[in-house]
Subunit: 349 residues, 2 copies
């Protein structure tokens, strides 16, 4: 809130009431997106639509998750739209404590896309699925005219079976829980941005896109019932993921800045571009709230896997204020970590 | 094969070898699409990708199906992209003999779409799902920049539970089977085309978009194990659906032209536009191959439901030649009914 003279406000006429329109920021994974979902999901008669949901059709519990992928460019260091679509949906299942069983694959293709590109993406989908031990069982292809889509959009939907010992949910965080992070942040977002804009960082960076279901299985096995929440901080970054979990659990989170692993090149790119690495998207790490009595055992299980080799404790869950995320900085001060507002990097996934 | 002089071939230079590109016809539901899928699906390590697939995670059998919807216009007499997306996926599950349990919903939205339109579509999704007794359990929303998509694309994925008595499969047709059709053909495609182009037929026509899972349940219950195949003739129309079933079952189909119900206005529109009603898309009827001993019982069960009130027998399955569909015309001659080649009506669903 400022009362200083604002030359833009002073010279521009007040905007007329006009049609509300969808903004790029509505797809950001941040605050605007939360508002859009709060507007739409009650119309579906649903409470909150999580990234994945349990469909109770008996035992074992079946979990369903869907994700659309519109990333540009479609090929980037560390992956492409096909492998990303497989990993993204596999990871949404994994964050529910489920082991993926089968995927469906829906393409929306712009007329004129080179057929070889569609073949490359399809081969990449197949290889990623094989590496995840998940089958592509059904699919759909729609073609729209030139200019009616931007090349290729991929929607993957996965079904998985929940591990018997999995009691994870966004609302299950408790004061005292350790906040664990599986690996460095910011790699996916900075790689995509740098590749798209030709900034040069992409020569020494790669997306962290990879499947996390084996890591979550190891965590849940080691943690007994002590793994309370799991979340992969994709759109909106670590900051938005922690804000969502804190709000859902009615707790606060205190982060320790020196403990948050930001690769030097990600930090350099963020400095240059004016981005906060806490808001940059990831596709291959996860954050968890874990019972403090089980935290060391879970950390050890994470570090025993390649995708969790750099796992570390980055903070603590405290009683409140509900939904508040703060970070103790290098110089000892505290700052509030907000959700991403608006759109930082569109079409990141 | 013709050796007649072709003035176009004689005056145009032979086309150079160039990049193969995706054509609108690759999304038609017809021959070109079959070629594209034959190219892509082996890369997925899958045999044939049906519209829905059984995911064997125990008993009961779980069925998965996905469909992208890119219809234009998004609102049309008889429905909109939201209700169509629900009905389309529910029907793909129904054609496997499954009862739908849950749906996921993925939006790809173009920046600038009026928010009210997104609200209307979401309300329509909810109403259609409620009418189908199926829950929307999870979702995803991506926003792309202006010009990178055409308004709104919707991908729905459904999971269903297979009825214990359901032994339907595309390959299960047998010589002697009755070919049953649940209602009139051509309504969806002609309504969309007429609405899009302002041809005027839309004032007295409406899409047949509706759920068919209660009809299939009634058929399977009445048919014991006599319902061999089920297919909803969407893209590519009745002709393409019958060609696919005949090829999959290694049988031929003989249709009786006077028996195929084509509404007068659909026939008039097709005459005017040079379309074959057998190639026009439907969203609310189905075709079945049924054991002749059970055909009357199944027909009676179909006619007892509103969506099957006009059910009728339109032909017979015969031994061969495999994959051949022919029709005895009004004047007594026989003509071969081919799959749709290329694209007749793009973005029909």
């Amino acid at each position: 809130m400022t009362t200083r003279f604002d030359p833009i406000a002073a010279t521009c006429p007040a905007p007329q009431a006009e049609t509300e329109r969808v903004l790029l920021g509505h797809g950001s994974g941040g605050q605007l997106m939360a508002e859009l979902l709060a507007d739409l999901t009650p119309r579906l008669g649903a409470g909150t639509l999580e990234d994945a949901a349990i469909v109770t059709t008996g035992t074992p519990e079946i979990v369903l998750s869907t994700d659309g992928f519109v990333v540009t460019p479609r090929f980037f260091p560390g992956g492409d739209i096909g492998s990303l679509a497989v990993h993204g949906t596999v990871n949404d299942l994994a964050m529910m404590g489920a082991v993926p069983v089968a995927l469906s694959l829906a393409y929306i293709v712009e007329e004129g896309l080179p057929l070889d590109e569609l073949r490359r993406v399809t081969t990449s989908v197949a290889e990623a699925a094989r590496a995840c031990d998940v089958r592509i069982v059904t699919g759909d292809t729609k073609v729209v005219g030139k200019g009616a889509a931007d090349g290729l959009f991929v929607t993957t939907t996965g079904i998985g079976v929940r591990l018997p010992g999995a009691h994870v949910a966004a609302a299950n965080g408790r004061p005292g829980d350790a906040v664990l992070l599986s690996g460095p942040i910011g790699l996916h977002g900075i790689t995509i941005l740098s590749t798209r804009e030709g900034l040069g960082f992409e020569s020494s960076l790669a997306s962290d896109s990879r499947p996390l279901h084996r890591l979550t299985t190891a965590m849940i096995t080691a943690g007994a019932c002590g793994v309370h929440t799991l979340r992969d901080p994709t759109r909106g970054g670590l900051a938005s993921a922690l804000n969502e979990l804190a709000a859902a659990s009615g707790v606060a989170v205190e982060l320790d800045e020196p403990a948050v692993p930001v690769p030097a090149q990600v930090a350099a790119a963020c400095d240059l571009l004016g981005l906060d690495p806490l808001h940059v998207a990831n596709e291959g790490c996860l954050v968890a709230f874990v019972d403090p009595a089980r935290a060391e055992a879970v950390l050890a299980a994470m570090r025993a896997r390649p995708e969790g080799a750099c796992a570390t404790r980055i903070g603590t869950v405290v009683a409140g204020p509900s939904g508040r995320v703060t970070m103790r900085t290098l110089v000892g001060s505290r700052r509030v970590i907000d959700m991403l507002v608006g759109e930082q990097l569109p079409r990141i996934c």
